[in-house]
């Protein structure tokens, strides 16, 4: 049922740290310890290098694509304490903006839902989170949350945009008042939820405590039209929690343990339609999880790294040999 349809040779000279598909699945961005960010056109099973972007002075940890309504924009963050925003203009990719407001490695970048505008959240080892908002004419406004997490912030993830119920038909030109929220995970073993106040300042709204070691990643699930909010978190303590909040009450988040792994869990990520959670562990596996009716999370598949030929799950007539 599952098979490899393309293998992209990035030619990175050192460890790859992140790979992200753009909104439509036509382009792939990768970043590496070799300090470069590369962009490939991967349509129809091909791989054409479009850009090899240099600008960082240390390993690049993450890349993130902005929504296509803002153009072709990619953000990257690095050990060199910088966040760079790259833009495609007249067919070529160039550095559009550099943000150097952190005192140590920037570990995570995440674009806000397009409804809010062009806003980038960045989490850093200096414990701070900065929010860059594009205000036009090449200008970016910076807001900084200092000491968001003691020791360091490892991950940031935005809540999906929820259209406020009272505003059904907006008169043209007027922006609806979205309540902007995002989650962050840090070395203080906490997950924090942040909310933008009316005065434009960011305030800590909630602390989610359950992990006993550094939180390595947080992922807010996409909305599927139900009133519940869901966040996945993973940690150095080997645990993955699924946090849910029934929006009717507003502020009670309850954790459910997905699984306790034997090793550090580094990365969690939701599929686009929010029904499958992927978990990358300290071993060579990536496991896929889905929720069942009694609230239990069930592992449905695993993707293993190993030697030898590629084989898909065993079904009649679907053996792919490489």
């Amino acid at each position: 049922m599952v098979s490899v349809i393309n293998t992209v040779d990035t030619s990175h000279e050192d460890m790859i740290h992140d790979a992200q598909m753009d909104y439509y699945g036509t382009r792939l961005a990768t970043c590496s310890s070799d300090r470069s960010v590369k962009i490939f056109d991967v349509r129809n099973g091909g791989q054409i290098l479009i850009a090899d972007l240099r600008g960082h002075e240390g390993p690049v940890w993450q890349v993130a694509w902005a929504h296509p309504m803002y153009g072709n924009i990619l953000a990257s963050c690095s050990y060199d304490r910088k966040v760079i925003i790259w833009r495609e203009e007249n067919g070529t990719w160039e550095k559009s903006h550099e943000h150097a407001g952190h005192d140590s490695s920037v570990n995570s970048v995440c674009w806000a839902p397009h409804d809010y505008g062009l806003i980038l959240a960045c989490g850093s080892s200096d414990g701070a989170i900065s929010l860059l908002t594009y205000t036009g004419e090449g200008q970016w406004e910076v807001k900084k949350i200092n000491n968001a997490h003691t020791i360091g912030c490892n991950a940031v993830s935005w809540a999906p945009a929820v259209i406020p119920g009272s505003l059904i038909d907006q008169p043209s030109g007027q922006k609806p008042n979205y309540i902007k929220k995002f989650a962050s995970g840090g070395c203080d073993n906490l997950i924090k939820l942040w909310k933008e106040e009316e005065d434009g300042q960011w305030k800590e709204e909630q602390k989610l405590e359950a992990h006993s070691d550094w939180v390595r990643d947080v992922a807010w699930a996409p909305s599927i039209g139900l009133p519940t909010s869901t966040i996945a978190s993973c940690s150095q303590d080997g645990r993955v929690f699924i946090w849910t909040c029934d929006d009717a009450s507003g502020n009670t988040w309850s954790p459910k343990l997905l699984h306790k792994f034997n090793d550090v869990v580094w990365h969690v990520s939701w599929s686009i339609t929010a029904n499958i959670l992927a978990v990358s562990g300290g071993d060579n596996k990536v496991t896929l999880w889905k929720e069942s009716v009694d609230g239990q999370w069930v592992c449905i598949s695993d993707v293993n790294k190993g030697q030898g030929s590629v084989s898909a799950s065993v079904t009649e007539g679907q053996q792919n040999e490489q």
Partner: protein
């Protein structure tokens, strides 16, 4: 009813003792891990080291990114027909649901089932041709195996049609099963033909000639009993003792299992054995008894030498009338959701899922349709079929469609319009807005301002409309003419979207009116543009310069009052101007031009004022 209930369905379908595992080739190092992310329709996997260190590792790393997809069948050329045609049948079935009543309901549903099967057969035929014509043996084999799969699908579907949809009662059930076996067993073995062709089949045929047959089941059963007893008597009387062949035949006709199994190589499989056995031992078998015969047939046929294959399990589940098990086994055995999605939907229309006491009955249907439709969205053109499937999923169809449709690459204008039409038909306003904004941005970057403007208007995006209008105005200043006049001339109420856009529209109107020599109207319009504050200040000079030809006309166009207002505007404009440093020659020249313009305007305005006062004075007098 919510999302979580689907989970139960999938728990049933997807939880396996042996997890499906995909192995990725790569440097198998203990130091490295595997990184993973989702694309809109695929997954990305690569080797990484999560332990972020500044210094690079000495251990070589793998530079490959693997892109993984499920539902790759969607790309098969031959299966395309299957997907397209079954889509038509599916949609037709949903639409006639309302009209399916009473006695004709069953026959209509059977007809739909037969339609599906004929589509499978057609696809099988085509695939078979492709397999024969294949250039290399490996792909030939692959196509052939696809043919077997399609054949198995048709076999299963056919059986389900007989048992679940047709619901053949005792008696005719065996006839249907006979047809079923005959259709699918390719070899026509000689002895079985003999057996069937010997003395009694003619009697059989007259018994079973159902159309117009007025005999009741009991009468038939009696006749059969009578014949059966006669056979038994012959055997006991050793009538055939001299001829072992005939004796064996007689035993077979009495349904003697051992005798039948002796001819095992002529029976291709256990269900062939089952039906043959039933034919001779219990032709009026009732549906509920079927499973016992089925199980023992399977056991006897395999004889402990081999174990049942997935197909066997599926068929057995059908004989046991366990629909749920059939669906579950099929989901596991088959590589895509096509089969289970369509069959389950049909069975749901037969009201079978509820009656089988699955509390998530129709949820199962929706779950499978959602999975199938999602798979279609991976394809550059089949996604359009997926839209209809989502439409008929009342719970999560809409939200699934919203999520998927936004991710369709808008490579061409045509495709974009198609996507938009689909969204507009379903009042998916957020998606419409978002798509229009994306297209507007694309157009601006490609310098297609007219296109950008119409997309902004459609998106009701005031900010963007302002941006594009500014570009238009800038272009006008540089080139002295407008592009996309048609668009601007026919803005209509859309003009009100943003001030800048309104100004653009009105300014163009001014030019048009002037061109038609309606000078008085042009003059008032021009003045209103300046006094209403919708003109950006940077444009005022241009507007005043536009006023010049009107001021220079033979007849007086601007009234005295209007002239005063113009003068006021000019003074406002010039008083705000800073004094330039004068070091730059170009700047000096610009300043000179500016100054000259202002002087000219002042002169023209003054002259006009004079003439206007005189004219108004005279008119008032008369």
């Amino acid at each position: 009813m919510g999302f979580h209930q689907f989970g139960q369905a999938c728990l049933e379908l997807l939880t396996l003792d042996d997890l499906p595992t995909l192995l990725i080739p790569g440097v198998n190092s203990k130091k490295h891990q595997m990184c993973f992310d989702w694309g809109p329709g695929e997954m990305l996997v690569c080797e990484t080291s999560f332990n972020k260190k500044e210094k690079s590792e000495m251990v070589p790393s793998c530079p490959f990114i693997y892109i993984i997809r499920k539902d790759v069948d969607v790309y098969s050329q031959v299966l395309r027909k299957l997907f397209n045609e079954s889509h038509g049948i599916f949609v037709g079935l949903q639409r006639i649901e309302e009209e399916l009543t009473g006695k004709s309901r069953k026959s209509q549903l059977v007809r739909v089932s037969k339609n599906y099967r004929s589509v499978i057969r057609a696809c099988m035929e085509e695939m078979h041709q492709v397999a024969i014509a294949a250039k290399d043996p490996a792909s030939g084999r692959q196509f052939s195996s696809q043919v077997s799969i399609l054949s198995a699908m048709e076999l299963i579907w056919n059986l389900c049609e007989i048992l679940f949809i047709e619901v053949a009662p005792a008696g005719p059930l065996l006839l249907h099963l006979l047809d079923w076996v005959r259709l699918h067993v390719c070899e026509v073995d000689s002895l079985s033909a003999d057996v069937l062709g010997s003395e009694n089949p003619s009697k059989h045929e007259s018994f079973w000639n159902l159309p117009g047959n007025t005999q009741t089941l009991t009468e038939l059963e009696l006749k059969w009993q009578h014949w059966h007893e006669e056979c038994e008597r012959y055997l006991q009387d050793c009538t055939f003792a001299s001829n072992p062949h005939l004796e064996s035949l007689c035993k077979i006709m009495l349904g003697d299992e051992a005798a039948l199994l002796e001819q095992k190589e002529l029976l291709s499989n256990w269900y062939h054995f089952l039906v043959t056995r039933l034919l001779y031992s219990n032709p009026t078998v009732k549906p509920i008894d079927l499973q016992y015969y089925a199980q023992s047939s399977l056991d006897l046929f395999l004889g402990g030498e081999s174990s049942p294959e997935p197909l066997d399990n599926i068929l057995m589940a059908a004989f046991e009338f366990d629909i749920h098990q059939v669906i579950k086994e099929c989901s596991i055995a088959l590589s895509n959701w096509w089969f289970v999605a369509h069959l389950t939907d049909l069975l749901d229309h037969c009201k079978l899922l509820q009656s089988h006491n699955l509390y998530f009955g129709s949820n199962m249907r929706e779950f499978l349709l959602l999975e199938y439709a999602s798979g279609l969205f991976a394809h550059p053109s089949l996604w359009q079929l997926g839209v209809d499937y989502f439409d008929y999923c009342p719970e999560l169809g809409r939200v699934s469609l919203e999520l998927h449709i936004e991710r369709i690459p808008l490579n061409t204008e045509q495709k974009a319009l198609k996507v938009l039409r689909i969204c507009e038909q379903r009042q998916m306003t957020e998606q419409v807005r978002s798509i229009c904004k994306i297209l507007a941005m694309k157009a601006v970057r490609n310098n297609r301002l007219g296109s950008a403007l119409s997309w902004s208007i459609r998106a009701k995006d005031a900010a963007f409309a302002t941006l594009v209008s500014d570009r238009f105005l800038r272009d006008y200043c540089e080139r002295g003419c407008f592009s996309d006049l048609d668009l601007i001339d026919n803005l209509g109420p859309a003009m009100m979207l943003s001030d800048r856009l309104t100004f653009l529209g009105k300014y163009r109107e001014f030019h048009r009116v002037y061109g038609e020599k309606r000078f008085a109207d042009a003059a008032s319009l021009l003045l209103s543009l300046m006094t209403s504050q919708i003109a950006p200040r940077s444009f005022w000079m241009t507007l005043l310069t536009d006023a010049l030809p009107l001021l220079e006309q033979k007849q007086v166009i601007f009234s005295a009052e209007q002239t005063y207002e113009l003068m006021q505007c000019l003074e406002d404009l010039t008083s705000g101007k800073p004094v330039h440093g004068g070091s730059d020659t170009q700047q000096c020249q610009d300043d000179d031009i500016e100054t000259t313009k202002v002087e000219m305007l002042r002169l023209a305005l003054a002259r006009n004022l004079a003439r206007a006062i005189v004219r108004e004075g005279s008119l008032e007098g008369s």
